[in-house]
Chain length 548, copies 2
């Protein structure tokens, strides 16, 4: 049997001596100093890199890079010491990673995070609690229940008596942490499915007996979920995972402001109800901050329709949820408090590190429909947070969020939200003031889309026939696709691109550039630079190919 004695030996041989060194936290001053040196190297080496490279990445292509990552053998003995690993990360990985912290990186929902988040994440790692069960987390499970109640209170405002009763109640659940928005949406629809096909009489419930038996027990031919075309693809994915099938998702038309059209919603429900099939409408998904356009569905009106029809109303506020921090803008989410469930992401506008999702439910007993128990964890009546959760083992992200709320305060987050919304509005103005750009979706929150479209084509398009329109848009699509790619590859700044359907500019899909303003360092002057660069790229490389 291996013994716990130290056997001094040469470095980079895996032996007990090596093992003790990497496992033990510092036992003496010398090793404390070494640890601090590593931490400094990490914090400041990375910092200096990120500071130097305001842009996105160095020029090397992914294909070239991948040539260096082809060895698939794990070395027998250690290859590197920690210090060398850190150096390698700073010198060889970081320069070819994406500098998402750059204020010029305005293309995705990933951005700079406050530096204290790194400290908090490190503390959570060092404590290494597993919140699946109280035996590996104790007080951290209690902290998690509290922080969930705090966010629940921000969303649902159910009054102090309600929170008194539920904040530390082991029999009820106000929400659950998930890996991200995708699994939060999946959990919401899982819950809606199980609640609809609950056990009754001889039927043990859909979770136990499966979909065919559930449909038979309830006399249902099919199940559908209603959501606008702008719903995140995780809604579709969830229906696939849940065995309902992607075709279950019925797209509801959107209005000119990219919000779900309430008339269309009612019409769809009427048609379904009067159709030949016995169809169960499982849920309506409202969006609070669409991934592509940042737009928000009319939550109040949807909630009324859902309520009148006895349908689960889920709000995907993965992006927009923290808008509730802002006194000025929280009205945009009005109606969210009438929903049955809400998805919010921690790694988006709570500015937490990757990744943290959350699902909140209005009814503290709703999550009971996904409860699982076993002999060794998640015992009946315990505080074990793994009982009602898609995940098993789970890190204590709640601790990061709890500390962040204390360090930032609601007002701190509100400043970020307001900055994003107001900077996006200013950016939209700037886009409209430039003759070769066209604003496609004006920002409601801090996301907007636009495209490069030379002035003469902007003039020509409205009067053009269908075929001519299609031809021009085809060229513009190619141009904007190339434009985004060239700018990204140049590495100074980054906007993303997507394709939007159903809008005033084209009946077909048009390619648009997409900006997400969440970095507080991203100000108007930076956005102007980004547009300048795009104009330059277009003139230098792309406009020559356009139709006159």
């Amino acid at each position: 049997m291996a013994d716990n004695r130290y056997n001094p030996t040469k470095a980079l041989v895996a032996d007990w001596n090596h093992l003790m060194r990497v496992f033990l936290r510092p036992e003496d001053d010398a090793s404390r100093q070494t640890l601090i040196k590593y931490m400094e190297q990490m914090l400041f080496g990375l910092h200096d890199f990120l500071k130097k490279h305001v842009g996105i990445t160095e020029a090397k292509s992914l294909k070239e890079l991948s040539e260096n990552f082809r060895n698939t053998l794990i070395s027998e003995d250690p290859e590197k010491k920690l210090a060398d690993v850190i150096t390698c990360l700073i010198k060889e990985i970081a320069p070819h990673a994406v500098n998402v912290a750059s204020p010029y990186f305005v293309g995705h929902m990933t951005s700079a995070i406050p530096f204290f988040m790194v400290h908090l994440k490190a503390i959570v790692s060092a404590l290494n609690q597993n919140v699946v069960k109280v035996e590996t987390s104790k007080v951290v499970s209690v902290v998690e229940k509290q922080v969930i109640a705090k966010i629940h209170n921000m969303i649902y405002r159910r009054g102090s008596l309600f929170y008194e009763e539920h904040v530390q109640n082991t029999e009820t659940t106000l929400g659950v942490f998930t890996e991200g928005g995708t699994t939060a949406n999946l959990t919401a629809l899982w819950v809606a499915r199980n609640a609809k096909f609950a056990p009754k009489e001889d039927f043990e419930g859909i979770e136990a007996e499966g979909i065919p038996a559930a449909f038979a027990a309830y006399g249902v031919d099919r199940c559908v979920i209603l959501a606008s075309r702008l719903a995140h693809y995780s809604v579709r994915k969830s229906t696939g995972v849940l065995g309902l099938g992607n075709n279950t998702v019925i797209p509801v038309d959107i209005d000119d402001d990219y919000r779900m059209d309430i008339g269309a919603l009612k019409r769809v429900i009427r048609e379904i109800r009067s159709g030949p099939q016995r169809t169960c409408i499982l849920a309506i998904v409202g969006i609070a901050g669409a991934t592509e356009t940042g737009t928000i569905d009319p939550l109040s009106e949807i909630s009324q329709v859902a309520h009148e029809n006895g349908i689960h109303f889920h709000v995907d506020a993965a992006w927009g949820g923290p808008t509730l921090f802002s006194r000025q803008y929280r009205y945009l989410l009005d109606g969210i408090q009438y929903s049955d469930s809400v998805t919010i992401d921690g790694h988006k506008q709570f500015y937490m590190p990757m990744t943290c999702g959350m699902l909140y439910v209005r009814d503290p007993k709703l999550l009971d429909v996904i409860a699982y128990h076993s002999n060794y964890v998640n015992r009946l009546g315990s505080v074990d947070l793994g009982i009602r959760s898609l995940s098993g083992s789970r890190e204590a992200n709640s601790l990061v969020l709890d500390c962040a709320l204390k360090i930032m305060g609601a007002n701190g987050y509100a400043l970020l939200i307001n900055h994003g919304i107001e900077t996006a509005a200013a950016f939209a103005e700037e886009i409209e003031s430039r003759e070769n750009f066209q604003l496609i979706t004006p920002p409601v929150l801090n996301i907007l889309t636009y495209r490069y479209c030379p002035a003469h084509l902007q003039e020509k398009l409205p009067a053009a026939g269908e075929e001519e329109k299609e031809r021009i848009n085809w060229h513009l699509n190619m141009l904007n696709r190339d434009l985004q790619r060239i700018q990204r590859e140049a590495g100074n700044s980054f906007v993303s691109r997507t394709a939007l359907r159903q809008n005033a500019f084209s009946p077909a899909e048009i390619v648009v550039l997409r900006s997400v303003i969440m970095n507080p360092m991203t100000g108007k002057s930076i956005l102007k630079e980004i547009l300048d660069e795009q104009e330059q790229i277009a003139e230098d490389h792309l406009t020559a190919k356009l139709p006159v």
Copy 2:
């Protein structure tokens, strides 16, 4: 619009000045020093705490603790500075968290982690890459493909030509990172389901059309999954989520060594095939390191049965996977290389921080059946790792694993594996040498179960009648349940408990104490102390209530 100017003002008011301070990485020497101070406080404050408290937790009960965590309002302005938050974590949270790093904590699959893991996790947070797409990860996606290929190579050993072809191939996928073992198992069964009910003729596939349509298209009445009683509860949970229903899981009998009984497996398949229903056997799940007993199913023999019957063979090696590092013990997992898919957890025997799961597949095209695309991410043919994954946004855990493999080497991990297995064997001997303990499941890997059972009852039990046996076991169950609780609450050491069915000691469930030896600091003398304490607790508090 908020402006990026600095407005000096008093502390703990959320203003731009505050915001800039928390967002910015250090710009000058003074703030560098502050940052280092925080890091020191965090690293060594926590360290000193964990060192002082070799035991589990302080005496305060969870109920008392929860009284301090009842406020559900987020404060408007910041409550605390980072330094105070860290101090609070060290002084108020850590003492009431669970010291999973203690060598006396041998009850769960959570343990000490090498300190470098905390550094690596901090680096990953600071880089904040999102590996769902290459536009927010670039080289990190390439690193992930490489480390997946390395582990795949360790499991499947498909030869250098195979890995040359696939390591950086954007059209194929050797595996995928998940939040944990639960979602890895879920993904495996999701893949098996979709592969079985693939699109054909007019049928678009189960992912698009759902289960009832899939059953109709394939002429199937029901679907089943075969697994031993010892399978992790996530297998059941997965069938619930996937819409197949928990009743889908058919338990296969285990033999006296707690391994799946191959005769029983063949019998179950024969019965299903000759039954009146048209039943599709979706998968056989083999376990490599059962959660409760650490036992390993006969993987080679199962793979043969699965192959002969055209059934997907999934191995849940969440726990046991890294045994492959050990030259001495990797034979225990023989047959894993013939499986169709394998779950391994990073936060278990790779000693990574919470949480990291992984799923590996033998066939690099198999994960195509769960592919999702959208307009803004996961475009066809891209390196975007989110295409074939349950998760959306995802942190770069692969970077932690990649660095850990370099720092530890295969041999470093092998030392840990060998130590666990050999220490558990020694512990089993020690248990058997004590007259008041009964070894229930001898260790195959580093997990064993036993119970306190006074010598006179050990003598009495074999000859006792059924009723008498039941009565004695009932008392022993109560005793062992109390014993585990009292020891846990005393806070010096921790073993877990579970209940095992079907064994030589009782036809009904018996409560057992469960030990997981993964901390390299846990040696034989510590385990003796734990048994001493248990004997003491039993004598002081519990044996008086036993039948004579």
